[in-house]
């Protein structure tokens, strides 16, 4: 089951540049929440702060409070490795491990975290590939084909399966369909819709139609601030803020 996310006073920096300015946001469990905004508004930085991926970039750091379920992400005893295991992430460009088979890719997170039970691993791999709607296309070549030999859309679903295999509570998606063709995109969107039964999903997207199609809630970011956060329908039809309206009606961005 998914868990909710509570963000309070989150600031993020790249060196001396403030990229996120005091963000407060409450993401409900088992919903899809979209994060939209023009390039450079901080939306990717925001989701990367939720699982402490932000700080893997040299000189980048964040402070504030992020609670994912019971877990205090930026608490003093918090381990970024453990945080990332419980909050899965799918990236903009499909990034399968190039020297690993399809099976190896999905099992990587389990194996490299010391999981040894072969039978259980087989089950988790199958379950994850089914959840990612890729099982039927790859089940005959699990060990023979490399992850990199799949098409772009399949690779992205493989990456989703890989993230799901470690059984996270939240799934972050950073423009997961922006490098894909329309058919692959619609498959990923369908998938996102299915995934919210089991997970809390936060998706960054450039594509406002996509946000409208998949998300119940949408947050609009501009220049490092969260301008407006509401039901998706409200954001796209009767936004409260003039800047949100200008953006969603295509006047800038």
């Amino acid at each position: 089951m998914g868990v909710g996310i509570e963000v309070h006073g989150l600031n993020a920096w790249y060196g001396k540049n403030l990229a996120l300015n005091s963000i407060d946001m409450s993401v409900p469990a088992n919903h899809v929440t979209a994060v939209i905004g023009p390039s450079g508004c901080g939306k990717s930085t925001f989701v990367r702060c939720l699982n402490r991926m932000h700080e893997t970039i040299p000189e980048a750091y964040a402070e504030g409070s992020v609670k994912v379920g019971e877990m205090d992400v930026y608490g003093s005893g918090s381990d970024p490795v453990e945080v990332r295991r419980r909050i899965g992430m799918v990236f903009q460009k499909p990034n399968p491990f190039p020297t690993m088979s399809i099976y190896g890719n999905v099992a990587a997170g389990l194996k490299l975290n010391g999981f040894r039970n072969r039978k259980q691993m087989d089950e988790l791999v199958e379950r994850s590939l089914r959840l990612a709607a890729l099982w039927d296309e790859v089940k005959d070549n699990l060990h023979k084909k490399s992850g990199a030999s799949l098409s772009g859309g399949q690779q992205q679903r493989l990456c989703i399966a890989r993230a799901l295999a470690v059984e996270p509570e939240v799934l972050l998606m950073d423009e997961p369909a922006s490098a894909l063709d329309p058919i692959s995109t619609s498959k990923i969107e369908e998938l996102i819709f299915q995934l919210k039964q089991h997970y809390t999903v936060v998706i960054v997207t450039h594509n406002m139609q996509q946000a409208a199609r998949v998300a119940e809630l949408t947050g609009f970011f501009l220049m490092g601030s969260l301008i407006e956060y509401d039901k998706t329908e409200k954001i796209f039809t009767t936004p409260a803020d003039k800047r949100t309206e200008d953006y969603v009606t295509g006047r800038f961005g």
Binding site: R86, G88, R162
Partner: protein, 271 residues
């Protein structure tokens, strides 16, 4: 223009092949006549006596190279990992500079350095000191190759691993190094092949031996040393055996490189 460039590239490739094949062919012509069972299984006979072989030197070369690899490969790969994954700082620059300088140090100087560090202290020549000398020579090549290959691994691959909650050390060893493995192995084989034929660093370390030795702390024969000794000797029989020794050395190097290539080749389609 395009055709001209292609033609030039093909010509250059052929010209590179010529000396390589010529050397090999000449070695075969000169050496094959002296390669026989006795050569491969017996130790040297005193000068003037016919027969005998270089079996002890063949085994000695294998022993010294094994020591060199045990010593040079982990240290080389380890420092390459440091340079690529942690070395974006002044200490990293210093290591990089040192490695490049070490790469240019004449091999005889390395032999003398190991002589004074190990041989003088232990008070005798040894297979171990020869292996250490060759191992030191392997390190800079392997370190720089490992660094360059790791830097070619796209950062999104590392991010994918971090995103799964895999710790950095695990990511480096099981993801980045694995992705770069083909290039790293090539670097190791280049370093191995380069030191396998070295003579100078062994002169004051392994020293050479006319008899069998499998002890790490005793002087040991090596093919390169044996070839050197025989080639400058006044005996015809030894000259022939020197050619045969050189041929065996080349075959051993090519064999080792080919064996490593075959056993580490990936079995995945489309990888």
């Amino acid at each position: 223009m395009d055709q001209g460039a292609t033609a030039f590239a093909i010509l250059a490739a052929i010209l590179v092949l010529v000396p390589l094949l010529a050397i090999f062919a000449y070695l075969v012509i000169k050496g094959i006549g002296s390669v026989n069972l006795a050569f491969l299984t017996q130790t040297p006979k005193p000068p003037g006596e016919a027969g005998g072989g270089m079996a002890n030197a063949i085994v000695g070369t294998g022993l010294i190279l094994a020591i060199a690899s045990v010593f040079g490969v982990p240290l080389g790969i380890g420092s390459g990992i440091y340079l690529a994954e942690y070395g974006r700082n002044r200490f990293g620059d210093f290591i990089r500079f040192t490695a490049d300088v070490l790469n240019g140090v004449p091999s005889i100087v390395i032999g003398i350095a190991v002589y004074s560090l190990i041989v003088v202290r232990q008070k005798h020549f040894s297979a171990f000191s020869g292996g250490v000398a060759l191992g030191i020579m392997m390190i800079p090549t392997i370190a720089r190759a490992t660094e360059e290959m790791l830097l070619m691994v796209p950062n999104v691959v590392r991010e994918a691993a971090y995103g799964l909650g895999i710790p950095k050390w695990r990511t480096t060893l099981s993801i980045s190094l694995r992705t770069a493995s083909a290039g790293v192995i090539t670097g190791c084989m280049l370093a191995f092949a380069r030191v396998a034929g070295e003579t100078a660093p062994l002169l004051f370390t392994a020293f050479g031996n006319q008899f069998w030795n499998l002890k790490l702390n005793q002087p040991t024969a090596a093919l390169s040393l044996q070839v050197f000794t025989y080639a400058i000797s006044p005996y015809d029989e030894w000259h022939k055996q020197a050619w045969a020794g050189a041929l065996i050395l080349i075959v051993m190097i090519v064999g080792a490189v080919a064996a490593v290539r075959l056993t580490t080749r990936g079995s995945l389609k489309g990888a």
